[in-house]
C-alpha cells in the first residue's frame, strides 16, 4: 500500500489528487492521509501548504505589502493556498 502510493506518483503523467489516488488504490481517503503522513515523516514526500515562506514574514502589519507579505493570516488578498505533496528522490535513511 505505502509503496503503491510512491509508484502511482512516479508513473502519473501529471499531478494526482488525493481522491484519484484513493480510488486507484482502493483505500479509504482517511487511511490514505495516514499513509501520506507516514511518507512525510520518512521524508519521501514533502508537504507544501503554499505559503511556508510567506508566513515566516511579518513586517507589514496587515496594511500594505510594501516590502513583504504577511501571508494568509493577515493579508486578505492572499487566498488560502492548496496543500500539496512532492515526491523526493530517495529517502535519506
Amino acid at each position: 500500500m505505502l509503496h503503491a502510493i510512491l509508484h502511482e506518483l512516479q508513473i502519473a503523467p501529471g499531478p494526482v489528487t488525493m481522491q484519484q489516488l484513493s480510488r486507484k488504490l482502493g483505500v479509504q481517503p482517511g487511511a490514505l492521509e495516514g499513509m501520506i503522513q507516514f511518507w512525510v515523516q520518512k521524508g519521501r514526500l514533502v508537504i507544501d501548504d503554499g505559503m511556508n515562506g510567506a508566513t515566516e514574514i511579518n513586517v507589514c502589519g496587515g496594511k500594505t505589502c510594501l516590502r513583504a507579505c504577511p501571508g494568509p493570516a493577515q493579508c486578505p488578498l492572499v487566498s488560502d493556498p492548496l496543500t500539496s505533496y512532492t515526491l523526493q528522490r530517495k529517502s535519506k535513511d
Binding site: Q28, F38, G50, N52, T64, S79, Y85, L87
Partner: protein, 743 residues
C-alpha cells in the same frame, strides 16, 4: 468491590471525549502528563459495584512515537498496563482508525472497540459487517453513536468484560496471546528469536509485552533501546536485535519501519474491503462532478466560462454602483467640498486645488471602481469557498507541466490573481533555486486585482459592448504569457530542471455561505481602501504637486495650464517611447510612470491628468444639502435595483428598456480623445495596446521589492527588463499589427 484501570484511546475527533464524559460524568479531574504540556484527563466510573479509573489518552493516529501524544499513549499502555484498553474508532474512517487499534493489539489483547459515529456511516451508505470485524480482530466490537447515547450500555458491558479478562490474565504467569495479524515470514522468524531471548530476561518479561518489545527492537526504536540498555544483562538481546534488523534490512532493501507499516496497511486494507461495503465501490456525486470539472479539456473551458461570469459581474452588474459613486463623488460630494472650502474662504487657492484636483480627482477616480473590485472579490470568494478554485488550479497545473514548469508553480501563480507580492513569497516552497527564480519571474504576469480598474476603465470607454470579454482576454493573455515566458526561459536560461511528481489535496465541495463570502469580500475591499487612503492619496498629492509647478509658459504655482507643468514635461520626455504603441502622449505616459509604484494609481493619475472640472447639474447648486443628500440616497437605491436587474444579463436576458445614448462622463471623453490623438485615429487599438502594456509591465514596487528579497537584485532587474521589453513588443504587435489589418 474491585478496582480497574481502563485506558481510552483513539484518533483525534472520534468522539472519545464524549464517551469519557458520558462514563465519568462530573467525577473527572484534569492535569498534565508528567513533563508534557498535553492535558491528562482521568475520571471514575462505577459499574455493578466495581470501580473503574478511566484514563483518557491523548488522541493519536498511531503509536510510532512521532509526536508527544503518541509517546504518552504508548508509554501509558506499556508501562502502566491498564486492565483494558477501549479503542474508539470513527466508523466512517475505519481504515485509518484501525491502524492505531492494530498497534494496541500488539501490546495487549484486552481491548474493546467502540465503533462510533455509526449514524454518519449509515448516512454515507456504508455497511459494516460487525460480527466479521469482531471475529477478525478477536475483540468485542460495539457499534454506537456516542453523541446520541446509542450503544453506551453495550459498551459498558464490554468494558467490564475486557477489564475482568485483563485482570485474570495478569494473575496467570506466562500469559501469552496471539495477535490478529501476522507479519511476513522473515519478520515473524526474527520476532520469534527475539521473543525467546526476551523470555530469558525475567525483568523484561514481566515489564513489557514481549511481542511489542521485540517489534520495537527490530524497528531500532531509540527510546526503547535506551530503556532496555539501562537494564543489566541485556547486551546479548540488543546485539541479537541489531543483527536481525540488519539482516531484514538487507533482505527487504528498505528500513523495517516502512516494511512493518506497509504490511499493517495492506492487512487493514484487506480487512476493510471485507467488512465494509458502500462508498468506495461506487463513485460519489462529487467524483462524477470532478470528472467533468477537472477534465483536461472540458475543465479548461469551464474555468474560462466561470471567469467570464465573474468579469461579467465585475463589469456589467457592478456598473450601476460605479455610475452612482461617480455621480456622487464628482457631483454632490465635490460640490459639498467646494462649499466647505468657500465657507472657510479657501476657494480658488492652491489648497482648494490640492483637495479638488489632487486628492478628490485622484482618490475619487479610483474609488469609483470599488464596486468592480467587490464583485471580483465576491466571485473569488465563492470559487474558493465552494472548493472550485482548487480544482481550477489543478486543471491549469496540467498545462504548466506540459510546458516544463514545476508542478508546484501553480500555487504561486494562482495566488498572483489576488496580489503578486504573496505570489513571489510563495515561491519559497520550491526547493530547486532555478524553479524558484523561474516561478518568481512569471508570477507578475498573472493579472492582480489592482490592474482590474484599469481594464474596466479602458474597456468601458472603448469597448462598452464587449468589456467583459476585453477584461477576460487580459487575464487569459496573462496566463498565456506566463506559460510562453516559462517555456522560453526553461529552454534557455533554466535548462536541466525536472518536474517532480505531485499529490494535491482538493477540498470537498461546499455550499458557500453568505457570511464567509461577505467576510472575504469585505476584508479584501478594506485592504484596497487602505491602499487608497495611503499609496493612492500619497501618489495623487505628489502628482498634483508636479502638475502645480510651472516649468514653461506664464502660469504660477497651482495656477498653470497642465501642459506647462513639471509633470507634463517629465512624462513628455518618456512619451516618445510609447509613440509606436499608439499611446505616446504625456498623459498616458504619466499614468504608466506612476503605475510603477502601484497599479491602483494608473486610474487615479489618469483621473488627475485628464481631469475636466464637472459642470454642476442644472439646479444642483440651488438645491440644499439635505435635498442633495436625499438625491444621493435615492440614486443608491436605484443603483441597487439596477444591479439586481443586471444579473439576468449574464445569460443574455435584458430587463432594461432600450435607452437613448447617454453622454459619457467628461473624463472618459477626454481619455478617448487623448488616445485618438496619440494614435492617429486608431484610439481603440491604442487603448487595447495600453491594456496589454499595463498587464505585462512591472506590477508595483512592492512586487519588485519582493523579487529583490526572494530572488536577488540580479533577477529582479532581469525580471523588470523582461517585463518592460515584452510589454513593449506585445503592445507594438497589437497596435501596429492591428493597424495593418484595418488599413
Amino acid at each position: 468491590m474491585s478496582e480497574f484501570t481502563i485506558a481510552l484511546a483513539g484518533n483525534p475527533n472520534t468522539g472519545k471525549t464524549t464517551i469519557f464524559n458520558t462514563l465519568t460524568g462530573s467525577s473527572q479531574h484534569t492535569g498534565n502528563w508528567p513533563g508534557k504540556t498535553v492535558a491528562r484527563k482521568e475520571g471514575v466510573w462505577r459499574h455493578d459495584g466495581d470501580l473503574f479509573h478511566i484514563v483518557d489518552l491523548p488522541g493519536a493516529y498511531s503509536l510510532s512515537a512521532f509526536s508527544a501524544e503518541e509517546v504518552i499513549a504508548r508509554d501509558f499502555i506499556v508501562e502502566n498496563q491498564p486492565d483494558a484498553v477501549i479503542v474508539v474508532v470513527d466508523a466512517t474512517n475505519l481504515e485509518r482508525n484501525l491502524y492505531l487499534a492494530l498497534q494496541i493489539l500488539e501490546m495487549t489483547p484486552h481491548v474493546a472497540l467502540a465503533l462510533n459515529m455509526m449514524d454518519a456511516a449509515r448516512a454515507q451508505g456504508l455497511k459494516i459487517d460487525i460480527p466479521m470485524l469482531s471475529d477478525r480482530l478477536r475483540i468485542p466490537v460495539i457499534p454506537m453513536t456516542a453523541r446520541a447515547g446509542k450503544g453506551m450500555v453495550q459498551l459498558e458491558e464490554a468494558i467490564a468484560g475486557a477489564a475482568q479478562k485483563g485482570r485474570e490474565a495478569k494473575q496467570v504467569a506466562g500469559f501469552e496471546f496471539t495477535p490478529p495479524f501476522r507479519y511476513s515470514q522473515p519478520i515473524e522468524t526474527a520476532l520469534n528469536r527475539l521473543i525467546k531471548a526476551i523470555n530469558q530476561q525475567h525483568p523484561l518479561k514481566n515489564h513489557y509485552p514481549e511481542r511489542w518489545l521485540a517489534l520495537k527492537l527490530l524497528q531500532e526504536d531509540e527510546t526503547c533501546i535506551e530503556k532496555i540498555s539501562a537494564i543489566p544483562g541485556t547486551d546479548d538481546l540488543l546485539a541479537l536485535a541489531r543483527h536481525e534488523a540488519t539482516h531484514l534490512h538487507s533482505f527487504y532493501g528498505e528500513d523495517l519501519d516502512t516494511i512493518i507499516a506497509e504490511e499493517r496497511y495492506t492487512w487493514l486494507n484487506g480487512l476493510v474491503q471485507q467488512v465494509v461495503q458502500g462508498r468506495l465501490q461506487s463513485p460519489t456525486f462529487s467524483d462524477r462532478v470532478d470528472a467533468v470539472i477537472t477534465h483536461p479539456v472540458a475543465g479548461l473551458f469551464i474555468f474560462f466560462a466561470i471567469m467570464w461570469v465573474v468579469f461579467k459581474l465585475s463589469t456589467d452588474v457592478a456598473a450601476p454602483f460605479v455610475n452612482w459613486i461617480d455621480t456622487f463623488v464628482n457631483g454632490n460630494f465635490a460640490h459639498w467640498v467646494t462649499e466647505l472650502l468657500a465657507l472657510v474662504h479657501l476657494e480658488n487657492t492652491w489648497f482648494a486645488s490640492l483637495i479638488i484636483d489632487g486628492i478628490l480627482a485622484g482618490v475619487g477616480g479610483v474609488l469609483v471602481f470599488v464596486p468592480v473590485l467587490m464583485f471580483l472579490y465576491m466571485g473569488m470568494a465563492i470559487m474558493e469557498d465552494s472548493g472550485y478554485m482548487a480544482r481550477a488550479a489543478f486543471v491549469m497545473d496540467r498545462y504548466m507541466r506540459k510546458l516544463g514548469l514545476h508542478g508546484k508553480s501553480f500555487v504561486p501563480l494562482v495566488l498572483g490573481f489576488g496580489c503578486n507580492v504573496p505570489a513571489i513569497y510563495a515561491t519559497r516552497t520550491l526547493e530547486n533555486p532555478t524553479d524558484r527564480i523561474l516561478t518568481g519571474m512569471l508570477a507578475p504576469f498573472m493579472s492582480c486585482s489592482a490592474r482590474l480598474p484599469v481594464y474596466v476603465l479602458i474597456a468601458t470607454i472603448f469597448f462598452p459592448e464587449y468589456r467583459t470579454s476585453a477584461v477576460l482576454t487580459m487575464y487569459i493573455l496573462g496566463i498565456i504569457m506566463a506559460l510562453i515566458a516559462g517555456l522560453l526561459l526553461r529552454k534557455t536560461i533554466f535548462k536541466n530542471s525536472e518536474a517532480s511528481a505531485l499529490l494535491i489535496e482538493i477540498p470537498s465541495y461546499r455550499m458557500p455561505t453568505i457570511r464567509n463570502v461577505w467576510t472575504e469580500m469585505w476584508q479584501r475591499t478594506r485592504a484596497f481602501l487602505e491602499s487608497a487612503a495611503t499609496i493612492i492619496m500619497g501618489v495623487s498629492i505628489v502628482i498634483w504637486l508636479l502638475m502645480a509647478i510651472p516649468v514653461s509658459g506664464h502660469g504660477t504655482f497651482a495656477d498653470t495650464p497642465v501642459d506647462d507643468s513639471a509633470f507634463a514635461h517629465l512624462a513628455g520626455a518618456i512619451s516618445p517611447a510609447f509613440e509606436p504603441l499608439g499611446f505616446g502622449n504625456w498623459e498616458n505616459a504619466s499614468a504608466l510612470i506612476s503605475g510603477f509604484i502601484a497599479k491602483e494609481v494608473v486610474v487615479s493619475t489618469m483621473a488627475q491628468v485628464y481631469h475636466v472640472p464637472q459642470e454642476p447639474q442644472s439646479g444642483a447648486e440651488d438645491a440644499g444639502f439635505w435635498a442633495q443628500g436625499k438625491d444621493s440616497i435615492i440614486g443608491l437605491f436605484q443603483a441597487t435595483v439596477d444591479t439586481i436587474k443586471s444579473i439576468p444579463a449574464i445569460i443574455g436576458i435584458n430587463l432594461f428598456p432600450p435607452e437613448t445614448e447617454s453622454e459619457p462622463p467628461a473624463m472618459m471623453t477626454a481619455i478617448r480623445q487623448g488616445f485618438e490623438q496619440s494614435s492617429g485615429g486608431y484610439g481603440a487599438l491604442a487603448a487595447f495596446a495600453f491594456m496589454v502594456y499595463v498587464l505585462i509591465y512591472s506590477p508595483c514596487v512592492a512586487t519588485m521589492a519582493a523579487q529583490r528579497q526572494e530572488l536577488g537584485a540580479r533577477w529582479m532587474w532581469t525580471s523588470i527588463a523582461i517585463q518592460l521589453t515584452l510589454g513593449w513588443i506585445l503592445a507594438f504587435v497589437v497596435f501596429q499589427g492591428g493597424k495593418l489589418l484595418l488599413s
